[in-house]
């Protein structure tokens, strides 16, 4: 038996995923290219580090969207690894369904897909036992019924798992499982996939989500990459897990307070300073415009966006500003306006108390629409 093995553990590449169209035209196409670049980077990293095998813990591609040409491209990437084993477990986005590419495509010989029908792959040369728990369908509320793993202590035992571990929302989740269940399986390493943010579930037992190597949205902030793992087995198992950043771009959500801003120049300066700390030409931004501005000053989002697009890769503007009405004063009036403001504020407060964000937004909007109609006799959008 070999005393140590090294490998890369990655998951959730989501090749050919659709992106929400924000910012410039062609954004999503560029982002899909980014995904390919990231995967190329993973493969190159594997070659550079001369690892023993590559593990992909599900959601490698989007079954519903992936093109044939990209499947070919993927296989070419696997061939680049020059017979280095690639072990894959299908995820909920690339499940092992009837017409799955995993089933139909003539993959390179070094690719090993762990399915419910055949969840094992044993590499005798490296003395590694791979066992996969993945997806047969797009949605699994319980683990698939499959052959139980056979753990032998004289070899490395690695479990590839795509699903949710120890989450509060296990009901109705994807392959929900308790951490104790995994620990009881007694693997040397658990290569998890499904969650897009890096997470050590149990460092001691080697149970971790590497996250998506390339972030896919504003809810995937922080660093994204893969795990470079080295397992040493003697009397005990020693794990060395190193995170390698692979992302092409990062998502940033920045709040910009526009209180007191009453001109376009002032607004642009505010935005510039808000973007100052970031790589604006590379990363993806959502700027939440906040604060109270004069009812007379209307933000021309389109114009500002065009201006920002000249220097930024992509910026999405989220106008959360409010007209600078003196609501407290207005609420005091014994007039229709006063009654209206009071009533609306009550509704807003109720929604706020009940965490009804959506309703709160609607009520706030209704308040300003009503005020504008009452006080100006027009409604500007």
């Amino acid at each position: 038996m070999k005393s140590s093995v090294s490998f890369i553990h990655c998951a959730d590449i989501h090749l050919d995923v659709p992106f929400s169209t924000i910012g410039k035209e062609g954004f999503s196409t560029k982002r899909r290219k980014d995904l390919k670049k990231t995967f190329e980077k993973i493969v190159s990293t594997a070659i550079e580090h001369d690892i023993d095998f590559l593990i992909i813990s599900g959601d490698l591609y989007e079954h519903e969207y992936v093109s044939r040409s990209n499947i070919n491209w993927l296989n070419d990437q696997f061939k680049r690894l020059n017979q280095m084993p690639v072990v894959i477990v299908p995820g909920n986005h690339d499940p092992y369904v009837k017409n799955s590419w995993y089933r139909s495509y003539p993959w390179s010989d070094n690719v090993h897909i762990l399915t419910t029908e055949n969840p094992e792959y044993i590499n005798e040369e490296l003395s590694v036992y791979f066992y996969g728990i993945g997806f047969n369908t797009f949605y699994q509320e319980t683990l698939p019924e499959q052959k139980k793993p056979v753990i032998l202590q004289d070899r490395f035992n690695i479990c590839l798992f795509h699903g949710t571990v120890d989450m509060e929302f296990t009901k109705g989740a994807y392959n929900p499982v308790d951490l104790s269940y995994l620990i009881d399986l007694d693997f040397d390493y658990y290569a998890l996939g499904h969650f897009h943010s890096k997470k050590d579930v149990d460092e001691e037992k080697g149970i971790a989500y590497p996250g998506s190597p390339e972030p896919l949205g504003f809810d995937e902030k922080g660093e994204h990459g893969v795990f470079l793992v080295q397992l040493c087995k003697g009397d005990t198992v020693e794990r060395e897990i190193k995170f390698i950043k692979t992302q092409q771009r990062a998502y940033h959500e920045v709040d910009v307070n526009l209180d007191g801003i009453d001109s376009l120049d002032g607004l642009e300066k505010k935005l510039d300073s808000a973007l100052e700390p970031y790589e604006r030409e590379k990363d993806i931004f959502k700027l939440n415009l906040k604060g109270r501005i004069s009812p007379d000053f209307h933000i021309d989002l389109e114009r500002i966006n065009d201006k920002l697009d000249e220097t930024c890769f992509t910026v999405k503007l989220n106008d959360l500003t409010r007209p600078m009405y003196n609501l407290e004063e207005l609420a005091e009036e014994r007039t229709l306006t006063g009654v209206f403001v009071r009533k609306m504020q009550e509704k807003i407060d109720d929604a706020h108390k009940n965490d009804q964000t959506k309703e709160k937004d609607i009520f706030e909007k209704a308040l300003y629409l009503g005020l504008e109609a009452l006080m100006d006799g027009t409604v500007d959008m």
Binding site: S67, R103, S104, D262, E332, L336, A366, T378
Partner: protein, 838 residues
């Protein structure tokens, strides 16, 4: 609240002025542009500050810029006021520096005790007045009315009245706000009924995009299905190709074995044919020799060639017949001789009685006549009845009847009976005459013939008896009978003779025919050379014919045998031709072909078949025949064609399915439209909520404030109209109407006279002030030229109202009309009125 002092350092055109006010009526008198509005703005600015910033949307300068002092004095001032509870305050404000100080009556700076906001500054006024800036401005500042300036004036007043009633604010219209919201909702969102509004367009685009995405998804799914199927088919194709290769090899191997077998069979069959042909040809040759010998023998017997077995039978029967006829003819000849003798004898006997040689018929008649006459000489002829006498009597009677009829008819002059009577007379006359004539002739003829005939016949008979030498008639008759008998016998003999001669001639003729036939046969076969022959000649002919027939039959038999052999030979050649596939007609040709096939077989047997043996899995099919293999091969080939066709079809279909990002783009577009829709739906809901809450608020205003407003308005109106009108109320449709005590009918303000409309407005404004300050500070009332269009009487009425009001409320009246100042003095007589000239 009452304003005590107004000290303006610099504000607009007003420079360094101090105005001291009293609790009741205060009049600021000055001509136009003298600073009345500036003073009002200063007061507002002191309480609430001045709005800065840029120009408003209508292009007006913000107050901060508008009231910058014309002369370079400080942009500041002071204001002192007293609240209803007696507490006094001084406010010092620098508009330039945006600083403010609030001091109590003990000059304590209490600025910090008020809430403050960055923009609005210290909010002391809100606390002391109890009103916001807007509300303060809208409520306690009463401006001049425009009711008679233009035709829309009354309508404007009516609207303002309505606004105040509905919203508590003459500038804010509930109806307009609702309409604005509905218009904006339709413009920026749309409704279920609209079709071209943003939400409608988004929904339509979304539907199309979703459809497109679904189509693309189906295509994408089908591309995966096709790829999967294609992969299966390609694997199947490889498998089938391998199988076909193996079957081809097996076929080649089996085909070689079969060819060897075939060639071996061909050779053997040909050799067998050859052997048989050699034997048959030898036999045919022998048969031909035998035929030649028979042929030579037949030539010698050639004379019999025209005779058949029937001829032989005829010869035998002819010859037997001939001999039989010969004997029969001899018998006839003997019999004829005997007859000749009998004739001769009888002839001689008859010659002795020649008298009877003549015809005896006459002799018999004579004898008969004589004998008859002698016997019948006594016969009575008279006893016989006469038929002609009867006839006569009948005729006579008829004649008489005829005559009677005629006479009777003449008497009666009947023509018909006359004719009948004459006819009867004629016929009966004729019959009578004829009867008379026939009875007379018969008696004379009978008597003469009998006598004469007898006399002649007696003489003749007597002569014959003499010649016959007999005496009496009876002997004569006997002799005559005897001779007659002999004559009869002779005649019989002659007849016999004739018959015999005839018979002999017939026999002779038959003999001649038989003889001729025999002689002809014998002569033709050279047995005799003359017409005579012997029995042995006949025998010889018969033997000769038999010999010929025997040889002839033998020849025929041999010839048939030869033909059979020749046919067999032909069929053997045909068989060989069939085997070879080409026509062969000689033994030599067959021998050549046998050699050829033997050589081919030898070379085939020596050929290398390692190729076939190298195919894997061949052993599995070792038991199959070539036909089985061919069948399987064909099946596999057909299957392969189908699979190849399927591969081509699927490949083409796959190539035609786009392999790009269209599906993601469709999804992204769909998501974007969904977000847009969500946004528009939220906006629509916001509009709905705004409209709903605004309507609810309006109802609340009506419920909470309107009764109070109506009450206050009613009393004010009654007061200023001198009791002409006593009530103003809003109906369910929120339309204002005025109730007159004289008239039960309600009148809407637009129908009132301009002055009355102004009064209504004034009353309502005052009522509004009462409403907003209800339970709070009594606010000063700022009147800015409100009576421009009022007649003196109505001014007095209003001033009377104000006089009463001034007892508890500070009134600051701005006017440019001297007469109004005088009227104030007149109405407020006995009360302090502070008049300031600007």
């Amino acid at each position: 609240m009452k304003i005590k002092k107004i000290h303006i350092d610099g504000f607009g055109k007003v420079d360094n002025r101090l105005f001291t006010l009293q609790p009741g009526m205060n009049v600021f008198y000055g001509h136009n542009e003298s600073g009345k509005s500036t003073v009002q703005s200063f007061i507002k600015g002191m309480f609430f500050g001045l709005k800065g910033g840029r120009k408003s949307r209508d292009g007006a300068l913000p107050p901060m810029r508008q009231y910058r002092p014309w002369i370079h004095n400080a942009y500041s001032g002071k204001l002192e006021y007293e609240l209803d509870n007696g507490s006094k305050y001084r406010v010092t404000r620098n508009f330039d520096k945006n600083t403010i100080t609030v001091e109590d009556e003990f000059s304590n700076n209490i600025t910090g005790s008020f809430p403050a906001a960055k923009e609005e500054g210290v909010k002391f006024a809100e606390q002391h007045i109890g009103l916001t800036e807007g509300c303060f401005e809208r409520t306690v500042f009463i401006g001049q009315m425009q009711s008679v300036i233009n035709s829309d004036g009354k309508k404007v007043i009516a609207e303002r009245l309505t606004n105040i009633k509905q919203t508590g604010d003459e500038e804010v219209s509930f109806q307009k706000a609702i309409e604005t919201l509905k218009d904006a909702q339709l413009t920026h969102v749309g409704s279920e009924r609209s079709s071209t509004r943003p939400l409608n367009i988004i929904n339509s685009d979304l539907e199309k995009t979703t459809q497109k995405k679904e189509q693309l998804t189906k295509l994408h799914d089908s591309s995966m299905d096709i790829f999967f199927e294609l992969e299966q088919l390609q694997k199947q194709e490889i498998h089938l190709k391998d199988k076909l290769k193996m079957l081809n090899a097996l076929k080649a191997k089996l085909a070689k074995g079969k060819e060897v077998d075939r060639l071996t069979n061909v050779c053997e069959s040909l050799e067998k044919c050859h052997e048989q042909l050699v034997e048959i040809e030898n036999i045919i040759e022998k048969k031909q020799d035998e035929l030649n010998i028979i042929q030579s023998h037949l030539k010698a017997q050639q004379v019999y060639k025209d005779y058949s077995r029937k001829d032989s039978d005829d010869m035998v029967s002819d010859y037997a017949n001939y001999k039989l006829l010969y004997k029969e003819l001899d018998g006839v000849k003997v019999e004829n001789k005997e007859n000749e003798d009998a004739i001769k004898e009888l002839k001689e006997e008859l010659d002795q009685n020649s008298i009877f040689s003549q015809d005896t018929t006459k002799m018999d008649k004579v004898i008969q006549n004589v004998l008859q006459y002698k016997r019948g000489k006594n016969i009575d002829v008279e006893k016989q009845p006469q038929p002609s006498s009867t006839k006569r009597w009948i005729a006579l009677a008829g004649l008489l009847i005829g005559i009677v009829i005629t006479i009777m008819s003449l008497i009666n002059a009947n023509v018909l009976f006359t004719v009948v009577g004459i006819a009867i007379c004629l016929v009966m006359g004729v019959v009578f005459v004829t009867a008379l004539k026939s009875s007379g002739e018969g008696k004379i003829k009978e008597k003469s013939t009998e006598e004469l005939e007898y006399e002649d016949n007696s003489k003749l008979l007597d002569n014959w008896m003499i010649e016959a030498k007999v005496d009496n008639i009876h002997d004569f008759i006997r002799l005559k009978n005897m001779v007659e008998d002999k004559k009869q016998r002779l005649k019989g003999l002659y007849d016999k003779k004739e018959r015999l001669e005839s018979k002999g001639q017939v026999i002779q003729n038959s003999m001649d025919i038989s003889k001729d036939q025999i002689v002809q046969k014998l002569t033709s076969t050279n047995i005799i050379d003359s017409p005579s022959f012997e029995e042995e000649d006949v025998q010889k002919w018969k033997t000769g014919l038999e010999t010929y027939n025997h040889l002839s039959q033998d020849y025929k038999d041999k010839d048939v045998e030869k033909s059979t052999l020749t046919q067999k030979k032909g069929s053997l050649y045909r068989e060989a031709s069939v085997i070879l596939g080409v026509d062969v007609n000689t033994l030599k040709e067959i021998e050549e072909k046998i050699n050829e096939k033997r050589q081919a077989l030898e070379s085939l047997e020596n050929a290398d078949d390692n190729g076939a043996m190298a195919v894997e899995g061949l052993a599995t099919y070792e038991d199959l025949t070539l036909e089985d293999v061919e069948l399987q091969r064909r099946r596999v080939d057909e299957e392969l064609s189908k699979v190849s066709l399927g591969i081509n079809t699927l490949s083409t279909r796959l190539e035609n399915i786009p392999d790009d990002e269209m599906i993601q783009q469709a999804y992204e577009k769909e998501q974007e439209l969904k977000e847009d829709r969500e946004e528009k739906v939220s906006l629509g809901k916001a509009f709905d909520v705004a409209i709903e809450v605004l309507s609810e608020s309006s109802v609340q205003i009506q419920r909470d404030y309107s009764p109070y407003l109506n009450e206050k308005m009613g009393s004010i109106i009654k007061s200023i109209s001198g009791g002409k009108y006593e009530d103003v109320m809003a109906d369910d449709s929120l339309t204002l109407n005025v109730q007159s005590p004289d008239n039960a009918e309600k009148v809407i303000p637009e129908q009132l006279s301009s002055g009355t409309a102004d009064q209504m407005y004034f009353a309502l404004r005052l009522a509004t002030v009462l409403l907003v300050e209800k339970d709070g500070e009594t606010l000063p009332l700022f009147l800015d030229e409100p009576f421009v269009q009022y007649d003196e009487e109505r001014i007095k009425n209003v001033l009377q109202l104000l006089k009463t009001e001034s007892e508890k409320r500070q009134i600051i009246f701005f006017t440019c009309k001297k007469r109004e100042v005088e009227l104030v003095n007149q109405i407020f007589e006995g009360m302090d009125v502070n008049i300031t000239n600007l």
